[in-house]
């Protein structure tokens, strides 16, 4: 790869101060350091540094998303075949799915990179690797049937409004990928509101998602209702495995768990948030089950047990990859528990009390993004109070 390095070294002067491409230095710098790492040396303070940098952090999150990508592609193919009444081999499924996903990925990265470059050049800040993660997340939370122009618009909105106007990665208050999805969710609800399934099958082919079924019926038992669906296999195990229609990356709890383990082992995500969310979800679902029995409410969603909540909709994906995003979440360890528990609890509340939005995770995380600084504020005040008590002695 010496030749490539030589080329980069040769064109570098044009991008340096005074060169005629000076404006585009961030683009050169990003290319140079992505290919060959940085040439920066320490100048004071600790003269040696840990090998981990933000580039590695971001690329590890992208790697953690790969299982969801591969399974997502297979599932798209599988659902297509199912809707056409065919049986395909797994490799055929994978190829069919990949043909659907790749254009979405290409459009996301194209739009994301474009905005990132524009902002870096205009605002003269380095291109941040954070957009790699944002752009890797966006396709996974889109339905496979999404029109590509909507992907481009949503990505642009997510990157610009969700991140760049705050100053870029590290300063944003909402998760940019979720902002992108929320934008589509409220702007083009027909495509993405989450009550109808999205399958790239024959025209007009439709059905209800697993979460929409109990939301639509009154006074029934949710589990019995799900088991009675014949169009799709909405059994617990099948939903855990992920062979159900849904957004590209969200369906398989199993493969999301593989990504979660990777994130936890490398330390790139907080286990407190994940465990907190599961506790919150389980607690709130148990409470709603109890309330349903106690009050005799006609809301079927209230009878959905916790272990179903865990594998349905975007909960697993949202908690593992969105809620654990360190910048927009809480920054203190105690705060992370509260943040996680609230996300889990709110997911159940939004899902069951408000049947218009059968998918609650996205809204729960965005809501808690907004409250994260408040939670941190209380944790910090706790720390301060302790110290002040000691000072007073």
């Amino acid at each position: 790869m010496k030749w490539l390095k030589n080329i980069l070294d040769k064109i570098k002067p044009h991008f340096d101060k005074g060169g005629y491409l000076e404006k585009y230095y961030p683009v050169f710098e990003a290319t140079d350091t992505i290919l060959f790492s940085t040439d920066k040396r320490t100048h004071s303070g600790p003269h040696i540094r840990d090998s981990l940098d933000v580039k590695r952090v971001m690329i590890l999150v992208v790697i953690a998303l790969l299982p969801a990508y591969i399974f997502g592609a297979m599932n798209i193919g599988y659902q297509m075949a199912l809707s056409l009444g065919q049986t395909n081999t797994w490799s055929e499924n994978l190829i069919q799915g990949a043909l659907k996903i790749l254009p979405i990925i290409a459009v996301t990265f194209g739009a994301g990179a474009l905005w990132e470059i524009i902002f870096s050049v205009v605002r003269k800040h380095p291109i941040s690797e954070g957009f790699l993660v944002t752009c890797a997340l966006i396709p996974l939370i889109m339905p496979p049937t999404i029109p590509l122009w909507q992907v481009a618009v949503a990505t642009s909105f997510g990157i610009v409004i969700g991140k760049e106007i705050f100053g870029g990665v590290g300063m944003n208050i909402f998760n940019p990928a979720l902002v992108a999805r929320a934008f589509l969710f409220f702007t083009y609800p027909v495509r993405i509101s989450g009550d109808k399934v999205w399958i790239s099958g024959p025209d007009g082919y439709s059905g209800a998602t697993a979460l929409a079924i109990p939301a639509a019926e009154k006074s029934q038992d949710a589990v019995t209702l799900l088991d009675s669906v014949s169009q799709f296999d909405y059994s617990w195990l099948n939903m855990f495995m992920g062979w159900v229609p849904g957004s590209i990356g969200e369906t398989s709890t199993l493969w999301i768990m593989v990504g979660a383990i990777f994130l936890l082992v490398t330390g790139m995500a907080s286990w407190r948030v994940m465990v907190g969310a599961i506790i919150g979800l389980t607690g709130m679902a148990t409470l709603t089950n109890f309330m349903a029995e106690l009050t005799g409410s006609s809301n079927t969603m209230l009878t959905l047990p916790a272990h179903y909540h865990l594998v349905m909709g975007g909960f697993a994906f949202g908690v593992v990859f969105m809620a654990t995003e360190p910048v927009t979440g809480t920054h203190t360890d105690k705060g992370r528990w509260v943040y996680g528990i609230f996300i889990g609890g709110l997911t159940v509340i939004i899902r069951s009390i408000n049947p218009a939005y059968p998918e609650g995770t996205m809204l729960a995380i965005l809501l808690m993004n907004a409250f994260a600084p408040l939670i941190d504020y209380f944790v910090i005040q706790g720390n301060i109070k302790q110290r002040m008590a000691r000072y007073a002695k």
Binding site: M1, L4, K5, T33, I34, L35, F36, S37, T38, D39, K40, R41, T42, H43, S44, G45, P46, H47, I48, R49, D50, S51, L52, D53, V54, K55, R56, V57, I59, L60, P126, S128, G167, G168, V169, G170, M171, V265, T266, G267, M268, S270, P326, V327, H331, T332, D333, D376, I380, N383, I384, Q386, R387, M388, R390, Y391
Partner: protein, 443 residues
């Protein structure tokens, strides 16, 4: 006896560990003091170029505290006095020619035990060695008019590649005890001496600490013993300087000896050597064959200062660290799986198994970025402090919040590991220092 146990922190496995035995090397032909390196000091000269000075004669004093003078670490001729901008004194260099020293009153251990504060204080000030005593907060030279709440001595060197201080104290036990006894007269409180393995000591509270670096940092020990609250002043003395003070009392002369490690991945023959205070760095690395570009650091690799070949050992330093001053740029390095030879991380983000010593270079290993709160700082800071929030309050120059978040207890050296571990390559220690400077101006 109190036993402090800390869990957070990290002992960096850096290669080039110095020998346990201390060897003699030819002494430096010139020694120097660098007045501008002392924080908050306004130096005023007491010598001119061409003057002859003895060991212990005053070279300059601090205009803000005229009693505090700096002792000459050598007998010889004042070779050069170098001035910087606005005639600030940068360097006083002395060419060494003899061993004549200024002799003052000597004490026996029993006399020390009976002595009172004024006697001890005036002897230290006369001996021009008050500069060895530093205070917290701010980690600067103490004011002799203050009476400190307590005095803390850390007899633990946990920093990478540092001197085996236990052996040094063992061999100079008498002087160390004399120093501790003398210091105990200066405070109304106690002298706390913290060891890895406790030894018997009079006139002090002996305690132990276990755990990784920064266990040896005196700031961490204060935090876990009796935290600094607003208005408190605590004095600290390096263990080697306690010995120097002890010798001043026992023999009546300043003995400017210091045991120094010359080590690090850039050193070809890492060793521990006998040296004089203010030695030229090139005289200390005489046994090292440096071929590749090498960075010389006076002090340890985490908190030391970069020095040039013709630079001098820092006044408080007892280490010279050498690291290769190079950066390797592997193709697609961010995707590499890593190995114990190529990557070193506190996280499991690379496959680098085993406890192998790592050959660090001066590479920053990444560009500076906004904070990504992955607990990298919290995991290496064994204090009840929220580093992220404190850092933000300093950037916002919010003095009140800084105080509430525990600024009084902080010093930049305790945050050096945070900078080491930070994936965003932020120099946390430097920001803490700027916060302390702001604090000092305003409070």
């Amino acid at each position: 006896m109190k036993k402090i146990i800390i869990y957070k922190g990290h002992d960096i496995r850096i290669s080039g560990i110095p020998t346990k035995e201390t060897s003699s090397i030819p002494k430096s032909e010139t020694v120097a003091l660098l007045p501008k390196t002392f924080r908050g000091v306004k130096p005023k000269l007491l010598v001119n170029e061409g003057d002859t000075v003895k060991i212990g004669s005053p070279l300059f004093f601090d205009k803000t505290k005229p009693d505090v003078k700096w002792a000459s670490p050598a007998n010889g001729l004042v070779k050069t006095i170098q001035f910087g901008a606005r005639r600030s004194v940068e360097k006083i260099e002395i060419s060494v020619s003899g061993t004549e020293a200024i002799r003052g009153e000597a004490f026996r251990q029993e006399q020390l035990t009976r002595a009172d504060r004024p006697t001890i204080l005036s002897r230290i000030l006369e001996g021009n060695l008050f500069t060895l005593i530093r205070q917290r907060p701010y980690n600067k030279i103490s004011n002799p008019n203050d009476t400190p709440r307590d005095i803390f001595i850390s007899a633990v060197n946990s920093a990478p590649l540092s001197v085996q201080i236990e052996t040094v104290i063992e061999s100079e036990k008498e002087a160390f005890q004399a120093g501790v006894t003398a210091l105990s007269k200066l405070t109304d409180g106690k002298v706390y001496v913290t060891f890895r393995n406790a030894i018997e000591l009079k006139d002090a509270i002996v305690q132990t600490i276990s755990g990784p670096h920064p266990a040896g940092n005196v700031g961490i020990q204060i935090h876990h013993t009796k935290p600094i609250t607003p208005g408190d002043i605590v004095w600290t003395v390096n263990p080697q300087h306690v010995i120097t003070l002890g010798k001043l009392f026992l023999s009546g002369v300043y003995v400017p000896d210091v045991i120094v490690t010359v080590a690090g991945p850039g050193a070809t023959a890492p060793q521990t050597v006998y040296a004089k205070v203010g030695s030229r760095v090139d005289s200390l690395i005489i046994n090292q064959k440096l071929t590749d570009p090498t960075r010389l650091i006076s002090g340890d690799v985490l908190t030391g200062q970069l020095v040039a070949d013709d630079g001098f050992l820092g006044f408080y330093d007892s280490a010279v660290t050498l690291i290769p001053d190079t950066v390797e740029r592997p193709f697609m390095g961010m995707l590499s799986i890593g190995s114990s030879d190529t990557k070193y991380s506190l996280t499991n983000t690379f496959v680098s198994l085993g406890e192998k010593l790592f050959k660090f270079t001066s590479s920053q290993n990444g560009e500076e970025r906004a904070i990504i709160p992955l607990n990298a700082w919290d995991n290496v800071l064994p204090m009840d402090i929220l580093p992220n929030e404190l850092y933000r309050s300093i950037l916002a120059q919010d003095i009140e919040e800084m105080e509430q978040l525990g600024m009084w207890e902080c010093d930049d050296e305790d945050f050096a590991l945070c900078s080491f571990a930070c994936p965003s390559k932020i120099d946390v220690g430097a920001v803490i220092r700027s916060g302390l400077d702001l604090f000092e101006q305003e409070c």
